[in-house]
């Protein structure tokens, strides 16, 4: 089963909001701790190493894109 990137939530804003609100009032370090735990919980729920690897690749690609954009802006 490949990574699903179509919209899976009936109300995507609720999902985004839930994550944002979970971080409210947390320090940077606490937020990072929360994310680490959340990633592991969700990864286990997915339970498919190929999907997890695809998800990691997608997330990493975003970071590359972001750093390229930054470089372009600096040029």
């Amino acid at each position: 089963m490949p990574l699903s990137t179509s919209s899976n939530f009936a109300r995507p804003d609720d999902a985004f909001r839930a994550v944002v609100e979970a971080h409210r009032g947390l320090s940077e370090a606490e937020s990072a701790d929360l994310d680490a735990a959340l990633v592991l919980v969700l990864a286990n729920h997915i339970g498919d190493i190929e999907v997890l690897k695809e998800a990691i690749a997608l997330a990493k690609r975003r970071m590359l894109d972001a750093s390229q954009q930054q470089q372009q802006q600096q040029q």
Partner: protein
């Protein structure tokens, strides 16, 4: 401190006094009389070969060093005739517990099944293992064990290897058809063939202390993350024979080894751990470790086995056990090549199979080490998350890595014949044979691994009586389970473990690995699988 149990004298050998100085020629020279070299020499001798075994020391090494010997290693030692002695002396265990702080996170059982001859592990000081192997060697006249014989030069020629050997009475030379280098992590033979030995170095330091005390702790492997007696680091407690306990403490990367190693500095840590001071030190050692391997285990006629070829961290009992698997793997192949029944290319499959096993061991041991000693803040954060999730979730417990213990590798190898039939279970080709309790046709209980030994530890057909029976090719043994004249599988374990309901015939290699399996064996199919497993096709 523990003293070496056995000391041996150097003895001058006639090879050192050859008329005209012409070097003596030998089929096999094994360098290094540690567990791997000794076991290999015994296996080769039992297969009918003369072996020269060289060691640069004159005694069995001090300290406990390797202590955990796996089921697979014990099955190998059974084939060498030393398994009983090891198990009688050793401490049998199969349960491990992982603690975080003062509370237990989870426990695991490495052999939850009944009906195996050997336990998941025994703990036994390496010097006992070596002493028992040396005793066995001394009953085998085909092994010529020469102490204080140090290889100082190696010259690879087309049809042999010339070795220069230093002794207390000066040097001499030997010619060998094959040299097996079992000379440990600091292998001088590896340097002599000019091979690289690269990999990952870990910065964290670990302190090993073997302490003698009488204690009522159960015979289990206990591992702590962040224990109350050693805040922020990890610790391991493990029982050995003679009321000796292995304690392994992770130290800070910046800790001063000379200071840390002093008994007066080690003692308070241990006292905090045990809650008392009634113990004596047997051995203290401080180490950093590396995970690395040679690119190639076979360098023409010089073949590397054990720590000389690959090195792992100690968490997982993958060092000595993988070296013993190396020995068993190379022994039967070298036997065939020396007899001329298989081509020399068969030796290449030793590299294929065992270097893949080394990669697996390095991967597992690196993961354990990274988990115990995270190198970045984010790694530490993920580990904290796992440890805290482990308190309330099953998946978290399973993610906690306090050392994944050695299990035999499954070989993806050209010697295997791929399955053509449908199987729901049982060992697929490339897997080590599972054990099971059976009885011979007169009702004497025994294990499948014992039946395999009785058939001569050679290529053997394991066939189940509810299927089609077939005559074994010449030189191949047969173990029949079930039917009128077969072994009795009263509890049904053998049938289950080999998925034999629909009939089953397994071709086992001389190292007990499955080479091929058939629901409906035919003579041509068996012969083709045998030829393939022998490197003949």
């Amino acid at each position: 401190m523990a003293q070496s149990k056995v000391q041996f004298g150097y003895r001058r050998h006639p090879d050192q006094d050859r008329p005209g100085g012409a070097p003596a020629g030998h089929a096999v020279v094994v360098v290094g009389a540690g567990p791997v070299g000794l076991s290999l020499a015994i296996d080769l001798a039992q297969r009918g070969h003369k072996v020269v075994l060289l060691d640069d020391a004159d005694r069995i090494g001090e300290g406990s060093r390797a202590i955990c010997f796996s089921k697979r290693s014990l099955e190998f030692w059974d084939r060498l005739g030393v398994g009983d002695r090891m198990v009688e002396k050793g401490v049998v265990w199969s349960v491990g517990k992982i603690f975080h702080g003062a509370s237990q996170l989870y426990q695991f059982n490495l052999l939850p099944e009944q009906g195996h001859k050997r336990p998941a592990f025994i703990n036994l000081q390496q010097f006992y293992a070596e002493a028992y192997l040396v005793d066995r060697v001394q009953h085998l006249p085909d092994i010529d064990l020469r102490w204080r014989n140090k290889v100082s030069a190696l010259d690879r020629r087309n049809d042999h290897v010339a070795l220069t050997i230093e002794t207390p009475e000066g040097p001499y030379t030997l010619h060998a058809q094959y040299v097996i280098a079992c000379d440990g992590a600091r292998s001088s033979l590896r340097q002599m063939v000019g091979a690289e030995f690269s990999g990952q170095v870990f910065e964290d330091q670990f302190l090993i202390a073997d302490v003698k005390m009488t204690a009522a702790f159960p015979t289990e492997r206990w591992f702590w993350f962040d224990p109350p007696f050693h805040a922020g680091r990890s610790a391991l407690l493990h029982k050995q024979p003679d009321d000796v306990w292995r304690i392994d403490l992770q130290l800070h990367p910046d800790a001063d080894p000379l200071v840390e190693k002093k008994p007066e500095n080690v003692a308070p840590r241990i006292a905090r751990m045990l809650g008392h001071e009634q113990f004596d030190f047997e051995w203290i050692s401080l180490y950093k470790f590396q995970c690395r391997r040679m690119d190639r285990f076979v360098h023409g006629r010089v073949i590397f086995a054990g720590d000389s070829a690959h090195q792992v961290s100690p968490f997982g009992a993958r060092g000595a056990n993988s070296g013993l698997e190396d020995a068993e793997n190379i022994a039967w192949k070298l036997d065939r090549v020396l007899r001329g029944t298989s081509p020399e290319t068969l030796l290449e499959t030793y590299h294929t199979e065992r270097s893949a096993a080394a990669d697996e061991n390095i991967r597992e041991s690196t993961r354990s080490t990274d988990f115990m000693a995270p190198t970045t803040e984010q790694e530490a954060r993920l580990r904290r998350a796992v440890l805290s999730l482990a308190k309330e979730t099953e998946f978290g417990k399973r993610m906690v890595n306090g050392g994944r213990l050695s299990v035999p590798s499954v070989y993806d190898t050209p010697l295997s014949t791929p399955d053509a039939d449908v199987w729901r279970g049982g060992p697929r080709p490339g897997t080590s044979m599972p054990d099971a309790p059976v009885a011979d046709h007169t009702g004497n209980p025994m294990f499948l691994t014992e039946a395999f030994i009785r058939k001569g530890t050679r290529f053997t057909l394991l066939t189940f009586g509810n299927g089609k029976s077939i005559d074994a090719p010449e030189g191949v043994g047969t173990i029949k389970v079930g039917g009128d004249d077969g072994m009795i599988d009263a509890a049904g374990f053998a049938g289950q473990r080999y998925d034999a309901d629909g009939g089953a015939t397994y071709l086992l290699r001389p190292d007990g690995y499955v080479a091929a399996r058939f629901r409906e064996p035919s003579r041509p199919a068996i012969e083709a699988a045998l030829a393939r497993a022998c490197g003949l096709s």
